[in-house]
């Protein structure tokens, strides 16, 4: 990988590492955010990391059939639906509890 980088071309591993950083940042934000909107943003970050992986494999390994690009189009579709429903749930939760603090959403906790 290092020799690829020095010769000036971008190796597959570089994309995978960027996606790994993005995914781990998203996981950390998902666990630690206290604002519910930020939790949704962290989920979007993780979905983007998955998309980068799919696109990198599609370009480097499956260059003729590009099935990874089809999959990322579907992931983008599902992410849009998820964002719409998630924010609607958040709005109705805010109307009932008048807060967006994740620590106080404990209706379903034993």
């Amino acid at each position: 990988m290092i020799s690829d980088l020095l010769s000036g071309s971008v190796p597959l591993e570089a994309y995978l590492l960027v996606a790994a950083v993005l995914f781990c940042t998203g996981v950390w934000g998902l666990i630690n955010s206290r604002n519910a909107v930020r939790v949704l943003m962290s989920i979007e970050l993780m979905l983007n990391a998955v998309n980068i992986n799919l696109m990198a494999f599609s370009s480097y390994v499956d260059g003729q059939l590009i099935r990874g690009q089809i999959f990322s189009v579907f992931v983008i579709t599902v992410a849009a639906a998820e964002a719409a429903v998630g924010l609607a749930i958040l709005l109705s939760l805010y109307r009932n509890r008048v807060t967006v603090d994740m620590e106080r959403f404990n209706l379903l906790r034993w």
């Binding site: 930020r38 943003m41 998309n51």
Partner: protein
């Protein structure tokens, strides 16, 4: 896209720098509005990465759907729920953050090891600019069923979002007891589940 390899490398380094710093800003900044705008920047940089990977259609879809729709939706949600509230301190929050940071760093180390030690297969030459044509062929032949199911999913998400976010509307005027033909008198709603009264 045929650009020189060194240009491609520089573009990749700049874009991934923006992606990583933006993602850190999204999770670490205390002002949620700044986080939302940084999230838009991250989405744009990811679209740039897609362009480097010869995927102009998916890059356009990323800009349209993520920056144009999801990010605007998040900004609207922030505007609707952005009440200044003093979060109650949690005992041991620092320990919790450090522990989860350790777990995420471990996950990253694992992923890095997998990425660097696996001998990835070399594929055929990427088709480059014909990718959009190939995506269209796929969507109308072997991926036709998921394509149609996606439309049903979007319809379900749209109806679900409307049902969830709609306010309750009274059909009867509470003052006179007659049917309210406007249908738009909102119920004076007391939050049932609030454990302390809203001020």
């Amino acid at each position: 896209m045929t650009i020189a390899a060194s240009t491609q490398l520089i573009c990749f380094l700049v874009l991934s720098f923006v992606v990583v710093l933006g993602a850190l800003g999204v999770v670490l900044l205390s002002n949620i509005v700044y986080s939302a705008f940084l999230l838009g920047g991250v989405f744009l940089a990811v679209a740039g990465l897609y362009l480097l990977l010869n995927a102009s259609f998916v890059a356009a879809a990323q800009v349209l759907v993520y920056v144009g729709a999801v990010n605007v939706l998040i900004l609207f949600a922030i505007m609707l729920v952005n009440k200044k509230e003093d979060l109650a301190p949690i005992p041991g929050i620092t320990l919790r953050r450090l522990l989860s940071g350790g777990v995420c760093a471990g996950l990253f180390a694992l992923l890095t090891r997998v990425v660097l030690t696996t001998p990835w297969a070399e594929g055929p030459e990427p088709i480059g600019e014909e990718a959009t044509i190939r995506i269209g062929e796929h969507l109308f032949t072997d991926y036709l069923l998921p394509f149609e199911l996606a439309s049903v999913l979007l319809l379900m998400a749209m109806i679900g979002a409307i049902v969830l976010a709609r306010r309750d509307v009274q059909a009867v005027d509470p003052g006179t007891g007659e049917l309210a033909d406007q249908g738009l008198i909102e119920k004076a709603r007391t939050p049932l589940l609030v454990d302390q009264p809203p001020s």
